[in-house]
């Protein structure tokens, strides 16, 4: 079913110069589906997926690093913030809210994970 990514995925985002960084990981909420959720998230988050989830990142170079021991992935969005925090004219130039935006986006989540 379609539901917000943040239904069971946490996020933390920030800036590194002109790049934005977005960590996504499965919440430790006691669900028996934890391992299945982690596997689903790891498969879901590809550079193309990030461009769809966050249309403002479409066309940017996106890297995804798996961190299975932390149950998640780290995403680097190169150039999203232009020349960096002091120079950026972007809304939210430090990407502080990027993670919460990502969590609010609707994605197709298999019933068994909810």
């Amino acid at each position: 079913m379609r539901a917000p990514l943040g239904t069971f995925v946490h996020a933390r985002s920030g800036d590194k110069g002109g790049d934005a960084n977005l960590g996504l990981w499965v919440a430790h909420d006691g669900s028996p589906a934890y391992a299945a959720r982690v596997a689903w998230l790891r498969d879901l988050v590809t550079p193309d997926f990030v461009g769809t989830l966050l249309p403002e990142a479409a066309g940017l170079e996106v890297e995804v690093f798996a961190l299975p021991n932390l149950g998640g992935v780290n995403v680097v969005l190169h150039g999203l913030l232009g020349l960096g925090v002091a120079a950026s004219t972007r809304f939210d130039p430090q990407a502080k809210g990027l993670g919460e935006w990502a969590r609010s986006r609707y994605v197709e989540i298999p019933e068994g994970l909810l």
Partner: protein, 440 residues
């Protein structure tokens, strides 16, 4: 140098320049600590300090740290807590001198050391620095701090060392680690990375905040989040926690959140060690206690990263409130009126969320049209810009209003990374007795 093999208990009382002023006192009074650290230097902060120093060469350090020590230096000495901070910014010598004055004024005589050598502006064109470079600082490691503590410093202030080095240095001193104890150092880097942003490890800026506040009373929700601390063991493993009775929480998820923050790949590069984040294991060690173990380290990169801030130009913006019907047409008209007046190199327009139709509040019926301009010189983005917008107040779309009065532009910086050879940089410890020691 090991004083003991028990874990080092090390806290943080600042995640940025502007963080909660009372945190130093809270951390000193809230429970036992061996070392209290504070991080004051973000990329943007270096730019702010660079501007301060241009106006007054005696400045260039984090002034809030001075205020905190005015309040807490005696308390820290009385409790035997060493203070380690990168608040020295662009002028650690100036900060050390200022702390000396404060101590003398209070009849205290702490051993104050400072660490510098990170400022590489003198390398100039060799590292691609133009005339507009305000700051250029190499990210140095924890060795200087370690050496200063070993010589008995009560207070150590540094320039640009990495945020994690504020923990790595004290831990290396406490446990007597060598510079090739990569796994131990990497463990301390991870602990340092978790602590460096203060309350971001204890439930601040955390997606799962509802687990922390949903069932709480208003009083509970109003309680400030506690700052984090770590117990760093001799093998580099650690437990992240906070003082008893403070607000917030430390869970596997709050620690994961901070581990994921501002990292770029699974290899976390630093001046002392490369830490492999895909080896980190977190464990629940009881209420508000999370273990960090298994961290593997390897040799650090050959070259050192340099944070360069250059004056990028000047910027200004105006926000026009557009209300009610025909939002797009109103916005289109005022843009067409203003654009011929704009002389700036760069003009960016954005139009916020569309309000709901038939909104039951004026704010709910309004959207903000924002125009941001940038230019290499101040004039085109100054009153020539904001004044031109104001002149339309009675001569444009119905309901024209702005969120703030017209203002002058402000200068902005551009950050970029450069790299230097280690041989180009000499990290130098200035001990309390006046002697100096080049450590790397």
């Amino acid at each position: 140098m090991a004083e003991s093999t028990r874990p080092l208990r090390i806290g943080n009382c600042s995640g940025f320049y502007g963080d909660r002023l009372s945190a130093m006192r809270e951390m000193l009074e809230g429970g036992q600590l061996d070392v209290l650290t504070g991080d004051y230097l973000a990329e943007l902060t270096m730019l702010i300090l660079g501007r301060d120093q241009r106006k007054d060469p005696s400045l260039g350090y984090a002034r809030t740290f001075v205020r905190q020590l005015e309040d807490c230096l005696g308390l820290a000495l009385e409790r035997g807590v060493r203070i380690v901070s990168n608040a020295g910014g662009l002028n650690p010598a100036g900060l050390a001198a200022r702390i000396g004055e404060i101590a003398a004024g209070q009849g205290l005589s702490p051993a104050i050391a400072y660490v510098d050598g990170d400022d590489v502006r003198a390398l100039g064109p060799r590292i691609g620095l133009g005339a507009g470079a305000l700051t250029a600082n190499a990210y140095l490691g924890g060795l200087g701090v370690s050496v200063a503590l070993a010589r008995g410093a009560d207070v150590v202030v540094t320039g640009r060392i990495t945020d994690a080095s504020l923990v790595v240095g004290p831990a290396a001193w406490w446990h007597g680690w060598t510079s090739t104890a990569y796994d131990e150092l990497a463990g301390a880097v991870v602990a340092g990375h978790v602590l460096e942003c203060g309350c971001q490890a204890t439930g601040g800026n955390f997606s799962g905040f509802r687990a922390m506040v949903s069932t709480s009373s208003t009083d509970e929700m109003a309680r400030p989040l506690g700052f984090p601390l770590a117990e760093v063991a001799a093998d580099g493993s650690s437990v992240v926690t906070k003082h008893d009775g403070t607000g917030g929480m430390v869970t596997v998820d709050t620690v994961t959140a901070q581990l994921m923050y501002e990292v770029q790949s699974t290899a976390y590069l630093g001046p002392d060690v490369t830490s492999h984040l895909d080896t980190v294991t977190l464990s629940d060690e009881g209420p508000d206690r999370v273990g960090i173990s298994g961290v593997r380290g390897s040799a650090p990169p050959e070259r050192l990263k340099v944070c360069v801030n250059e004056l990028g130009g000047y910027r200004n913006s105006v926000e026009l409130v557009v209300t009610g019907l025909d939002l797009e047409a109103k916005a289109e008209w005022v843009r067409a009126q203003l654009e011929p007046r704009l002389r700036a190199d760069s003009v960016t327009w954005s139009f916020g969320t569309s309000p709901r139709p038939d909104a039951d509040s004026e704010e709910g019926a309004s959207a903000v049209l924002r125009c941001t301009v940038q230019d290499a010189s101040p004039e085109p983005v100054g009153r020539a810009f904001s004044g031109a917008a104001v002149e339309l107040a009675l001569a444009s779309y119905p309901g024209f209003t702005m969120t703030s009065p017209p203002a002058d532009g402000t200068p902005f910086g551009v950050y970029r990374a450069e790299y230097v050879d280690r041989s180009d940089v000499s990290q130098t410890v200035h001990h309390a007795d006046g002697s100096t020691e080049v450590v790397a």
